[in-house]
Amino acid sequence: MRLAIPRETLPGENRVPIIPDIAKKLCRLGADVDVESGMGDSAGFSDQDYIDAGASIVTDRAALFGSADVLLRIHKPSHDEIALMKPGCIHISFLDPFNEHDLVTALKERGVTAISMEMIPRTTRSQKMDALSSQANLAGYVMVMKAASYLPRILPMMMTPAGTLKPANVFVIGAGVAGLQAIATAKRLGAKVTAFDTRPVVAEQVQSLGAKFLEIDLGETGETAGGYAKELTPEQVEMQRQAQKDVIAKSDVVITTAQVFGRKPPVLVTSDMIEGMATGSVIVDMAAETGGNVEGSVPGEVVNIAGVQLIGTGNWSSDVARDASQMYASNLFNLVEDNWDEEQKLFKVDFEDDILPGCIITHGGEVVHDTIKNLMAGGQ
């Protein structure tokens, strides 16, 4: 079976889908691994590293796509790329199937088996393949480091002969995987951290990192069976905004990671709240690219609003591309290995499996994922 890893083309993306160590493991499974020339460059891996691992280097990108049985990638394919693929080819990557209906249609029509990395279920057993988690985790770290580098202050407290520097106040909205890691990193650096999340179970998790949980009574909230947050009603969002206002005004750094799986994130920090913050404060909006939690955030950019730096860079884990690539590659490998037929040496698409079916979007010319199918059929 031929596994192909083309170079990522998204500007600013430094991560690579497969690192040499993992390429070696894939070869050991009995797969033929084709790597596009220069694929590893941005994360500091040379073609030679991949050759040493047992992969072949392919220079012709079109040929790579055309011959691949399985494509291992980070980002969704372009329409042009889909046209290059063999029917029956398995394409594994982030897909954003909730929004990319055209793409899903194109994949379906091409007869590609499209596996969406964001649809990996969040069970204990599937965590090793869960790329959303692995990347969000690094994002949590990176967001704090970014915030720290824009803040004209230091995060820790220091009592020195030249006076006492107060610890920076950091407020994290949304304490999922990224939020928790952001909390942990900011705590490590000595900041005073407060966090809020709508899912009630999170309070204990926040405290387990030594941070403070902001109690807001929003009435009925909760989480889905998959562990994601439920969407709030507009009234609840308003209540939350009001309750957070004071905390935000007193914060040096606000990091927002509040997301609702499959929907646009709620706007939780409005312009007037930003204006209430002190000059020099920093806001990091994790989801700026998909709409963001902060009013006025610009995807991919840092903007200055009334003296407050609002960071909407996005693609956070690409900042620590080497580690992020390692983790993403592991996720891919675990997914491949879990579905690998040892005898026939091929990736077996088994609809009886307890993980895989949930993340296959298209297969055999059909959209096989129920939620997506319904969504595309008309329901919002």
């Binding site: 069970t123 204990t124 057993r125 965590q127 090793k128 988690s133 692995s134 985790n137 949590g140 995987v177 928790l180 890691q181 942990a184 490590r188 204990e204 998790q205 405290q207 387990s208 990192l209 030594g210």
Partner: protein, 451 residues
């Protein structure tokens, strides 16, 4: 001479006390036993000096027979059958008191002497048969379950009445030997009846109690033959035995009455889906196990984070290492609630990185681990992932703590973890549950190391 003998007795009693004291601490216990044995030697030598003794043949014969049997039995018994051996010895001690009591009977004894004779016979007799039954149950020569039958209460009451009646009659008519034999017989029967309804699991408590009785029997025999050291040593054993019994009951979380009467050793396995029994352990006892361990693995989970126990865990690690043990941490990739959760905490507590082992590194070593301490982890050590095909986590690699010799699980309750599934680990033979907040439990262990 007589006075010298008496003071030798004082000395030997002092040695007994000192020996018992030292027996109470692991560091000195063996020496304590020796000291107590020396006390016994002195007492015996002193007794042999007695001017009343004119013929040493019988004595010698008794010594040789008894000594050889005792020595051989003690040598040959398997380590695992020590407790029943103790029961047997204890029974012999009781029998000896019974015999001494009988032998002390002189035609024109005072009533007080008669009473003490009856007591020594009664207590000695029931100690003897009771111990034999305990021995039988422990060695599984007879069924170890609780034997109960209808009318048991009634029969027992009859026996007690019979004993009382014949004892009174004997005191009134000491020349009528049959009253005496009736007392002997009934007390032997009573010993049997008292112990059969108690289950095998409770035998240690019973033996301890019988041990205390055999002390009292010796005490009574002492009165009968007017011998001082018997009285003192007997009452000492009687008193400390009773207290030891009580302590053992407390360690088993039962009352003495419960053990003797209502409990009937019927076991207290809760009805759970999983087979086996939950065995809680106290901090004290956990300490003694840890103190003897040379290879310890610590498996932290989300509960360590909730308890914020990382600092005390680190301190415990240091103490274990000072004590000569090798300590490693086994970090399961999904432990906690965020990737790297355990790392953040353990780094905060300054645990050196090279003590942190990944799951794949610690699992092969697990068989050499004396004690695996699971601190607030649950799903990540759940053997159901290996064993129960129907489990939602079946197939996920977990840390195989159950291969360690002993597993301590520190959590607050029997509640399940994130995945919400039962954990058969808690019911395994080599698992002990140390219930309570992890920080407090570990704090307790640390304090034990200090004292």
């Amino acid at each position: 001479m007589q006075t010298l003998i008496q003071f030798a007795f004082v000395l030997s009693a002092a040695l007994f006390i000192f020996g018992l004291k030292q027996l109470g601490s692991p560091a000195t216990a063996r020496r304590g036993n020796l000291i107590s044995a020396i006390g016994m030697l002195i007492a015996i030598v002193a007794a042999l000096m007695d001017q009343g003794i004119v013929d040493y043949r019988f004595i010698l014969a008794g010594f040789v027979v008894g000594g050889v049997i005792g020595a051989l039995a003690a040598r040959m018994v398997a380590m695992t059958s020590m407790p029943e051996m103790v029961a047997l010895f204890n029974g012999f001690g009781g029998m000896a008191s019974l015999l001494v009591g009988m032998a002390a009977l002189t035609p024109n004894a005072a009533t007080f002497t008669l009473v003490t004779i009856v007591l020594s016979i009664l207590i000695g007799g029931l100690t003897f048969t009771g111990s034999l039954i305990a021995y039988g149950k422990l060695s599984e020569r007879i069924g170890s379950g609780a034997v109960m039958f209808v009318g048991q209460q009634f029969v027992n009451s009859l026996i007690v009445l019979g004993i009382l009646g014949s004892a009174v009659m004997f005191c009134l008519q000491p020349d009528q030997a049959h009253w005496l034999y009736l007392v002997v017989g009934l007390s032997l029967v009573f010993g049997i009846m008292a112990v059969i309804p108690i289950g095998g699991a409770d035998m240690p408590v019973v033996i301890s109690l019988l041990n205390s009785y055999s002390g009292l029997a010796a005490c009574a025999a002492g009165f009968a033959v007017d011998n001082n050291i018997l009285i003192v040593a007997g009452s000492l054993v009687g008193a400390s035995g009773i207290i030891l019994t009580q302590i053992m009951c407390k360690a088993m979380n039962r009352s003495l009455a419960n053990v003797l009467f209502s409990g009937f050793g019927s076991g207290k396995v809760e009805t759970t889906e999983v087979e086996g029994e939950i065995k809680p352990i106290s901090v004290d006892d956990a300490y003694y196990v840890l103190e003897a361990a040379t290879n310890v693995a610590i498996i932290p989970g989300y509960g360590m984070a909730v308890a914020q126990a990382q600092h005390v865990v680190k301190e415990l690690t240091e103490l274990l290492e000072e004590n000569g043990a090798e300590v490693n941490f086994g970090i399961h990739p999904v432990a906690g609630r965020m990737p790297g959760h355990m790392n953040v905490l353990l780094a905060e507590a300054d645990v050196p990185y090279d003590q942190l082992l990944e799951m794949d590194d610690i699992n092969p070593r697990m068989e050499n681990v004396d004690v695996a301490i699971v601190i607030g982890a649950n799903d990540v050590v759940n053997p159901a992932a290996r064993e129960v095909e129907s489990s939602p986590i079946y197939g996920m690699p977990v840390i195989n703590v159950d291969s360690a010799r002993t597993v301590f699980v520190l959590k607050r309750s029997m509640a399940s973890g994130f995945a919400g599934i039962e954990n058969p680990l808690f019911y395994k033979d080599n698992t002990r549950m140390l219930f309570g907040d992890a920080k407090e439990s570990i704090g307790g262990l640390i304090r034990e190391f200090g004292s």
